[in-house]
Amino acid sequence: MSTIIAQSSILESAPQTPSESPKWFSDLQQQAWADFQSLPMPSRGDEVWRFGNLKQLDFSAFTEGGASEVKFQIPSLPDGVICLPLAEALQSHGDLVHEHFMKSDARLGSAKFTALHKAKTKNGIFVYVPDSVEVEEPIEVSHILTGSNEAIFPHTLIITGKNAKVSVVDRFSSSNEDDAGLCIAVNDLIAGEGSKLTYCAVQELNTNSRMIQVNATNVGRDAHATAFIANTGAQWARNESVSKMAGEGAHSDMLSCSIPAGTQQYDQRTYQHHASPHTNSDLLYKNTLYGTSKTVFSGLILVDEGAHYTDAYQTCRNLLMEDTTEANSMPGLEINADQVKCSHGSTSASISDEEIYYLCARGITPQLARRLIANGFSTDVVERLRNEKLETIVLEAIERKFATV
């Protein structure tokens, strides 16, 4: 098997940067390819892969086909807003892309695969919202994995100017239920001073596919960034999310709602980095587990020296719907500053008999009662998006999932 596929495996073939791309970009891709080859594979002893499933990291069977699609649903945009497929933005706004493209290190374990993404990415979206411009309607991008053993590397780069506002949704899905695919996605969110940036990823790949998603959020002075991840699909998904409070008064919400069932495995790593004083971050990750599914949550709050008056919260809640599920939680804190309020919490539990009994007493069947409670548990994090359109998109995905379990 390996000999036939090896020729065009994503691990073997050097990047082919389109000739119309700027020189800096093709140089960058060549450099990233060299980095990918020299970086070590994650190994068992790595703390950032503790409880993780390293077997999922053999990507040798995947190739860069061309069958997968990207669809854009772009609302009418105010003047000055740039919203283009990444490939076009590289040509028309190369300098702006260059300034912000993948500037932060992947520090949560997937450096090697982030380098692979950097070397191979061709597609995705570039959004730039100038100072004081607000985009009300969400910008939607759909990535549809098509073809057997095809790999895609979608990139999302969002930049907001001073006091600007925008929301972007990335949807990841498969064109059919069977073809195994691989998606290694990276998103860079750069929230400028006083701006409001909301990003939402909805992952509904088929259960033969795998996903790595790496998020880097940089929150400027008095800005408010929200990064939301909904996971209902894929055989295995790894999310790495880093939020850096770079300017004073920065605020970051990191949210996730995941509903694994069957043999699905979700591995989520987060990092709340407070680099400036008077910043706050709030993380809420919720997992509802069915079947023999497994989740890993590992979170760290880092408060730098000098980042006084930080408020940072981190909560991971696991609802275990069946006796065969497994939830691993590693909520962590590293505090190097003074006048800091930090807390983290993690709970794992099942629905209590009293809750079911209460609903049954009102004529609701036990099955429906369990479903209602699970639904309520999952959806309260969705409300934290505080954006009706985005909430609807996520709730629909959740509904689709609950209908199958």
Partner: protein
Amino acid sequence: MSSDTATVDRETQTAIDIDRSKGDFSFPENHKYDAGVGLTKATVDYISDVKSDPDWVRAFRHKGLDTFLDKPMPTHWATEDLENIDFDKIRYYLSDGQKPKRSWDEVPPEVLETFERLGVPEQERAFLAGVEAQYDSEAAYSNVKEELEKDGVIFVNSTEGLKEHEEVFRPWFGKVIPTGDNKFSALNSAVFSGGSFIYIPKGLKVKHPLQAYFRINSENFGQFERTLIIADEGSEVMYMEGCTAPKFETATLHSAVVELVAMKGAKIQYVTVQNWSSNVFNLVTKRGLAHEDAEVRWIDCNIGSRLTMKYPGVVMKGKRARGEVISIALANSGQHQDTGAKMIHAADDTTSNVVSKSISVGEGRATYRGQVHIPKHLKGCKNNTECDALMINATSKTDTYPAITVRGNQHVTQHEASVSQVSEEMLFYMQQRGISEAAAMSLAVNGFINDLVSEFPMEYSVELKRLIELEMEGSVG
């Protein structure tokens, strides 16, 4: 601001020195047996020869040495400071070749004076059921009240335990903590000496605590005591340990292994007040095995040492077993208290509780590291973990790294952690009422740990509060 901080740190430093003065003295060395510097097969054989170990113990030691040399330093998750331990410069065995005495009158005068100054004989008269006092590698004094001996209580050092009571000792020795558990448990297995062996017979509830006191007197020394406590069905015992060392310029290593076995319905409480001088690397492995309906409680207070890495654990092997860790850590400048708990649920309806409070002062670093493991096919397991950290100065540091694994849906776990400061409002409120700033800080800190201090036996909790007050002196920032 910066000059302020510097003054504060100097004052903090003074506070530490005042406190340490109690244990900071030493006597000239008077050793008949000295295994020399560095660790080789010959060192291990030397110790075995001096102690006239049975063959199985000698083999056990050699296996320990091989495992130790094999295992890497755990610096991929632990602090790099571990690299500063120079295993070739440590002396692994020092003793005067005397058997432990049963009466303080027979103990060599300087050893007696050491323990007198630390208040050990006085405490024994006041409230203890038995005492073992270890001086460098071997126990100098070991005594247990006569009536307990009549009831069948065994309280001896580990060497005597493995020779005189092999039938009780051997089945559990190295079973709760296997040699290969970690690099330092392997090191201890190779060169262990001293520590207690305790056996409490069925149904016996020992009213007064048993105590061990570990004293390091020599420079560049490594102390490797090994303790095994077996509480037979339905028995109860409380064991307390204290420790001090003089403050040397060079690093000293203390690496103990403590194994507890609580048989059906038994209850073991293990109390530690760790007050090593700030040049000691304190790398200790402690674990208890709780059978059906048994309870193992670790009550742990870490004030001293340069680096402490200690995660007392309980393996709940029988139904309805209970495990508990109550932990207080105080990290001052130059100290890293890396403490935590390990709760392994291995039977239905087992419950565990971890309450950890840490205080970081000056440039001190306090770390909580925990593991809770609930495997498949169990039901009714419960864990509660709370860790609270208090930071006194702007330069203080604190970390929390828990790991919780739950398989199956018939369990409840919760983990909570918080980090806070003594607020300016709180201090202001007290100062308004005529309390000095330093006293207000001390009161606030005592309030923070008060509910845990009350878990310690009364004689200890008074001492603890005083110690913490001293450590906090002058650290208002």
